[in-house]
Amino acid sequence: MSDKLTGAGIIVEELIRAGADKIFGYPGGSVLDIYDELYLAKDRITHYITAHEQGAAHAADGYARATGKTGVVIATSGPGATNLVTGISTAYLDSVPLVAITGNVATDFIGRDSFQEVNIVGITMPVTKHNYIVNDVRDLQRTIREAFRIASGGRPGPVLIDVPKDVQRSSVEYDGAVSFDLPGADNAVLDLKEAIKLIKNAKRPCIYAGGGVIISEASEELSKFAKVIDAPITASLMGLTAEPYYHDGFLGMAGMHGKYAASKAVAECDLLIAIGTRFSDRATGNKQKFLGEGRKVLQFDIDRAEINKNIRADAYVIGDVKKILSELIKSGGLDGINNKKWLDYVKSLKAIPENNIEHSDKSLPPKFVIESAKSVFGADAVVATDVGQHQMWTAQYYGFEKPRSFMTSGGLGTMGYGMGAAIGAAIGSGKRALLFTSDGSFHMNLNELATAVSHNIPLTIILFDNNALGMVRQWQKMFYARRYSQTTLNRKTDYVKLAEAFGAKGFCASNKEELLAALNKAKKLQTPCLIRCIIDSDENVFPMIPPNGTIDDIILK
């Protein structure tokens, strides 16, 4: 059955067909036609307007991370499009499937510096998996299908489609049921021989899990694999929720602010099995020394370009890591492995003082805030963070139990990511969202509090107020002789009044009792609220392996 539809109509039909029934964005002159179609289709697709396009991009990102589906964001031409760029870059660095649709001026007006014209395809080329400008409405349907396939296929990432206004307005025959011959899934047979040989020869294997394990939904296989080969599991920031924190063999995050036991296991193993991870410099520290004497690296990844990019691999398997792990287990090639002694040793590290750093005895230690929030809200909330000290504390102390429960900007390190991401994650998952943020990060995109209130998002914001840009201040303290250049904020923001002004509830806690009372009140609310937690500006994130350092350089207090 084929009908005549406008380009804008095709966009909305194809979004619905792709399963994008909840999308984010902000209207404007060059997307009027798309928003008109969204109005007509509002029973089939829900659009969430944010306060700023950046918030919409982060919301689509949070939605995608929480659900595994492709997030969709729409923005108008010019500033609408450029406001997406930080959000798209965030998604690109963390391999998040995202389709961004921007309007542009009509094709006749392109290249003439028209009002609100910008070359967004040129601007986003380095931060998208692929992008398009559609100059002919007849190419639109195929382009949208391709965009979703590319965004979610293989290693996911953002794709941008720029649609000039006249293309949105012109009509063409449209048949939604038509199928296109798109690049398909890779069904290559896996060669596991080298991998099995390395694992069998290892006496001290250690797993280092990245975000790829979550993307490929391979948590169960990961646990099984670790048991079969008696290997501890460590994780990158992006891999944190791959394994429940309470599993015996899970040592936590490794790297710059990782747990002592995890970084120690990575340093002392004779075979590092890296799964779906790209060896960020924040995780490896000094790349030359990372490998150590005689240590081998075995890498599993869907992206061949990740092999030997940052760390040289002795062997690798390319493919979906869920498939790789389940075939490795099934192969029988790993049966009879016994590295119990090694595993017992690394597990014993979890109990030593170096691995259990206590925070200050100040009235409200950050660790206490995060652990209390976890115990009040449990494992069913989706947790988002901004970037800085609070992000690392959340990674260290929250105790994640389920994949897709942690939204954080790992690669790009985007301050201001959290508000949008928490909103998108709550909308996508239908769960309560917790946002851990700080006075620095929160000020970047606090406008999205308006979004949370108007859409009735069950969002609890836990704001660490240390009157400073804490992480930068920590570096200034440690590496710049306490010259606190521009990191003492001296802001007079009244967070409780601010929350109330936006229509949310606000609480303030300066000690443990007040915090617990506020958390319990927050739990009863199904609407947004903010808890300001006053913490000491001299709280630090420890352990810390200084940039380009090794485990021998670890700073514990």
Binding site: K129, N135, I150, R304, A305, N308, R312
Partner: protein
């Protein structure tokens, strides 16, 4: 060890494909020594020849990163593989118009198998093709007469034998 690598690319002839490829080199800080591009006999495709100076590990990275670009159909890196590599160059050379000097210029052009494609009272334009080192040698020799202008296409390459890129 730093070596010269030639990368032959078959790409979809789409809007912005050259920008995507040069953009990838720029964002990952790979240096391009040479780049040439032109349409092929297959409708909608272009062939590109890129020459880079790098080590073994980096050429592997460059190839794998290129493969991820959606508009790239095929990538082949040429190192030990037998390939034909040619470049075309136009050179405008000065001559003072008297018989002896002109004859000397023309003789040199013939030795290098160049072709005079334009002749003016005080200059000639020479068209010459060949491998990079031959063109460099020709330029070196022509310096004696005085080079007025040089325009090179960049190297283009093709694998020997029936299997191509």
């Amino acid at each position: 060890m730093i070596k010269k690598y030639t990368i032959i690319l078959l790409v979809a002839n789409k809007h912005g494909v050259l920008t995507r490829i040069s953009g990838l080199f720029a964002k990952r800080a790979y240096n391009i020594d040479n780049l040439s591009v032109g349409k092929t006999n297959v409708e909608g495709t272009s062939r590109m020849t890129v020459i880079v100076e790098c080590d073994d590990e980096l050429i592997d990275q460059i190839r794998e990163q290129l493969k991820k670009l959606v508009d790239i159909i095929e990538v082949e890196t040429v190192m030990e593989k037998p390939a034909v590599m040619r470049e075309l160059m136009l050179v405008k050379v000065k001559h003072n118009g008297d018989g002896a000097d002109s004859a000397h210029v023309i003789e040199a052009i013939n030795v290098f198998r160049g072709k005079v494609v334009d002749m003016a009272p005080e200059s000639v334009i020479v068209e010459i093709t060949g491998q990079e080192d031959k063109l460099n040698a020709f330029l070196q020799y022509m310096k004696g007469f005085g080079i007025l202008e040089v325009s090179r296409t960049g190297v283009t390459a093709m694998l020997r034998g029936a299997k191509g890129v």
